[in-house]
């Protein structure tokens, strides 16, 4: 066997080895790259799945909340659901009627300027909330009537009225002639009361009117 022939064969083999090595490296590179790409796609889909599951959980949580709120809604007094805002005539009428009911004399209410509330729980989609401070003063025949008057009045107010302060004082003990004067309407009760109410009143939010671009053109003949 000649050295030249051996050398030729070695060169041919080396060339084949070179080509095979390139093919091998190409295969490895393709495997790695393709694997990484597919894993990336799979991870992307997994992330999207996690997002959907998160939305589902969120929605389920909201659904539970809604169910809870529905139960609450059904139990709410009509006065609390009222969304007519603050109407002083109605307030005065209510005050007078409640005072009459509990023999309250000299009922007086002072209401501060309503302040709109937009933050926190008052950030509502369907109603606007305004808050005012109502200061109530009155005279009652006894403590029970005084308490019931304040409680009923607060409950009957449209919206929510929170009794922040309530003060009942007995100015003096009843004497015999006091009872006669009271019955004839010449005197009021010996119980003086004052209460500070935080009154939250609601008004329905008006839906935004359609812009001219939104309204379809009317046909004219």
């Amino acid at each position: 066997m000649k050295i030249l022939e051996l050398r030729k064969k070695i060169i041919v083999n080396a060339s084949i080895a070179g080509v095979t090595l390139v093919l091998f490296c190409g295969c490895i590179f393709y495997n790695i790259h393709h694997s990484a790409k597919v894993k990336e796609d799979a991870d992307k889909i997994t992330n999207e799945t996690a997002e959907i599951q998160s939305k589902t959980a969120d929605l389920q949580s909201k659904t539970l909340d809604i169910q809870k709120y529905m139960a609450t809604w059904r139990n709410l007094d009509e006065s609390k659901k009222s969304a007519n805002g603050i109407k002083m005539d109605e307030v005065n009428n209510l005050l007078n009627s409640t005072a009459t009911k509990y023999n309250i004399t000299t009922p007086n209410i002072k209401i501060s300027l309503p302040e709109p509330l937009n933050d926190g729980v008052f950030n509502c989609k369907t109603i606007s909330v305004s808050s005012t401070t109502a200061t109530l003063t009155f005279k009652a025949l006894d403590d029970v009537k005084a308490l019931l008057f304040v409680s009923d009045f607060a409950r009957a107010l449209p919206g929510y009225a929170v009794i922040n302060n309530l003060d009942i004082k007995k100015e003096k003990d009843y004497a015999n002639n006091d009872l006669v004067d009271i019955s004839t309407g010449k005197a009021s009760g010996v119980i003086s009361g004052s209460a500070t109410l935080y009154w939250y009143a609601f008004k329905n939010k008006i839906a935004a009117a359609p812009t001219p671009a939104d309204t379809p053109p009317t046909k004219t003949n």
Binding site: M1, L6, N13, D41, T49, I66, W73, N165, Y200
Partner: protein, 514 residues
């Protein structure tokens, strides 16, 4: 390269024999008187038909020298250097030279003493014209010329193959040495004596006999005694009667040898056919075969080679050949690796597809679940109350507000009602106040704390101070008991009260906070 075929070219002074060995048999054999153009053409057809067969050159010429040399007990690497130096210093640069160690650990037996020195046998053979011609021809052939070998050295394998039978047939009892004298007849070289020890060849010579001559037996005996005389120099304790003489000669020669009546000569005789049969190659030679050329060629081809001789060109070819072999293995490994990578790619494709489809399936399931929940939520959103549809967002708004402030300040009446036990303690209230603590009008929280104060007087019918204290303490206990979830503060009866005075009433002041 990976072929089991090999071609053995045995060169002697009277001709050459070329044998093609393929596994367990000789496929082809050619005896040549000389290497001429005609014989080259004939040989070329064999070599070209067996391109992958390895070629061995087995030299059986008379111009071979075997010299024993002794070295001090140095390291084997140093011994190799010394031996190479001695071979290089030899004047004849053209001849083929090599050596082997006679007393290496492998060749030692229990009876031989441990080494105190190295004994080496230097073998050399003249690079005659015929050998040069053959080498030139063989290097042109497609097969690889592996190397040159000396037939007398390689005949040791034949002796080892016959040894067990020789021992059985030997007349020598209690043999004290391991020497055997083998006498073989070859067509290419004539008759050769070779003396072996357990380590290998000790001595060889070519003898010339004519079996038909009447003095053959006498000449034969004389040659044996000459050989013995030479051996005495190497083995002083050797006696003729203790050396086995193994003849592998034609039957006619053996018949004559059997008639030799000498007590000192112990023969073990084989015809070439019998020797071939003994090594399980009975089909190798015809029964009437007179020479051992094919037998020795076969023994050489199928056994491990003992001593290789090389030339610079053969060494260079060997290096290239190793490189070529390595490149074949490298290619095989790379091809295998590439195929593996491709298969891996194909099989992992399915796994990767499953990965994506699995993830997609999960996504679809999640989407379906979301859609179901959404549907339920929308159905829930469409609620009717007395035939009127209710906006769920309105419900949510009111629900949140109710949650935050629905219970604030609503417990004042209940609290006051819970104080009805005061009557049993003859308490007359003069004042009651209630106030929410820390109620933030703009951002209320569900849990509120309050502070309640009630004051008045406690009536004491008897007027006795002791009754007053007792009534008051009872009142305090009851207040604390009834309002145990709250913090109770009160103005205690003064300890410096006038015990002599009558108290029919005493002011009280309680503060309750949550």
């Amino acid at each position: 390269m990976f072929s089991k075929k090999n071609i053995v070219v045995t060169i002697g002074d009277y001709g050459s024999v070329v044998t093609l060995h393929d596994g367990s048999e000789i496929k082809n054999k050619i005896f040549l008187d000389e290497l001429n153009d005609k014989s080259k053409e004939e040989l070329k057809s064999i070599f070209l038909a067996n391109k992958t067969a390895e070629i061995y050159l087995l030299i059986d010429t008379v111009d071979q020298s075997y010299k024993k040399k002794v070295y001090p007990l140095v390291r084997k690497a140093d011994l190799a250097r010394l031996a190479r130096r001695d071979m290089a210093s030899d004047g004849d640069k053209e001849s083929f030279k090599n050596y082997f160690i006679l007393n290496s650990k492998k060749s030692q037996t229990k009876t031989t003493p441990t080494n105190s020195r190295w004994e080496c046998l230097f073998v050399s053979s003249t690079n005659s014209e015929i050998i040069s011609k053959w080498m030139e021809f063989l290097l042109e052939m497609p097969g690889r010329l592996v190397g040159l070998y000396m037939l007398p050295v390689e005949t040791f394998n034949l002796l080892n193959s016959l040894k067990s039978d020789i021992r059985l047939r030997s007349k020598i009892k209690n043999k004290r040495n391991d020497l055997y004298c083998l006498i073989v007849q070859n067509k290419v070289s004539g008759i050769r004596q070779v003396v072996f020890s357990s380590a290998g060849i000790v001595f060889t010579r070519v003898v010339s006999y004519n079996f038909e001559q009447p003095d053959f037996a006498e000449k034969y005996e004389q040659d044996l005694y000459s050989t013995f005389e030479y051996l005495k120099r190497l083995f002083p304790d050797l006696s003729m009667s203790e050396m086995d003489i193994v003849n592998i000669l034609p039957n006619e020669a053996l018949e004559i040898i059997k008639k030799i009546n000498s007590q000192d000569l112990n023969f073990v005789n084989y015809t070439p056919f019998q020797a071939a049969a003994q090594i399980k190659e009975s089909k190798l030679l015809p029964q009437n075969s007179t020479s051992c050329d094919l037998l020795l060629s076969r023994i050489f081809a199928k056994n491990k080679k003992l001593l290789k001789f090389s030339t610079p060109k053969i060494t260079a070819i060997e290096k290239f050949f190793i490189g070529l072999k390595a490149s074949y293995y490298l290619n095989a490994a790379l091809i295998l690796a590439t195929i593996t990578a491709v298969l891996f790619s194909i099989f992992s494709q399915e796994r990767l597809n499953n990965l994506v489809s699995g993830a997609q399936t999960q996504k679809n399931l999640a989407a379906i679940e979301f859609s179901n929940v959404q549907k339920l939520a929308l159905e829930g959103a469409k609620t009717n109350e007395d035939g009127v549809a209710i906006d769920i967002e309105k419900v949510t708004d009111f629900g949140k507000i109710e949650q935050a402030i629905g219970s604030a300040g609503t417990d004042v009446v209940n609290f006051y009602t819970s104080l009805k036990f005061l009557k049993t303690f003859n308490v007359r209230l003069a004042g009651f106040s209630y106030s929410l603590l820390n109620f933030n009008q703009k951002s209320p929280t569900p849990t509120q704390t309050y502070k309640v104060n009630f004051n008045g007087k406690i009536l004491n019918k008897s007027g006795d101070i002791e009754d007053l204290f007792s009534e008051f303490d009872g009142l305090v206990i009851k207040v604390k008991e009834s309002l145990n979830k709250n913090q109770v503060g009160y103005t205690d009866l003064p300890r410096n009260i006038d015990f002599n005075q009558k108290y029919y009433s005493f002011p009280i002041d309680f503060t309750i906070s949550k």
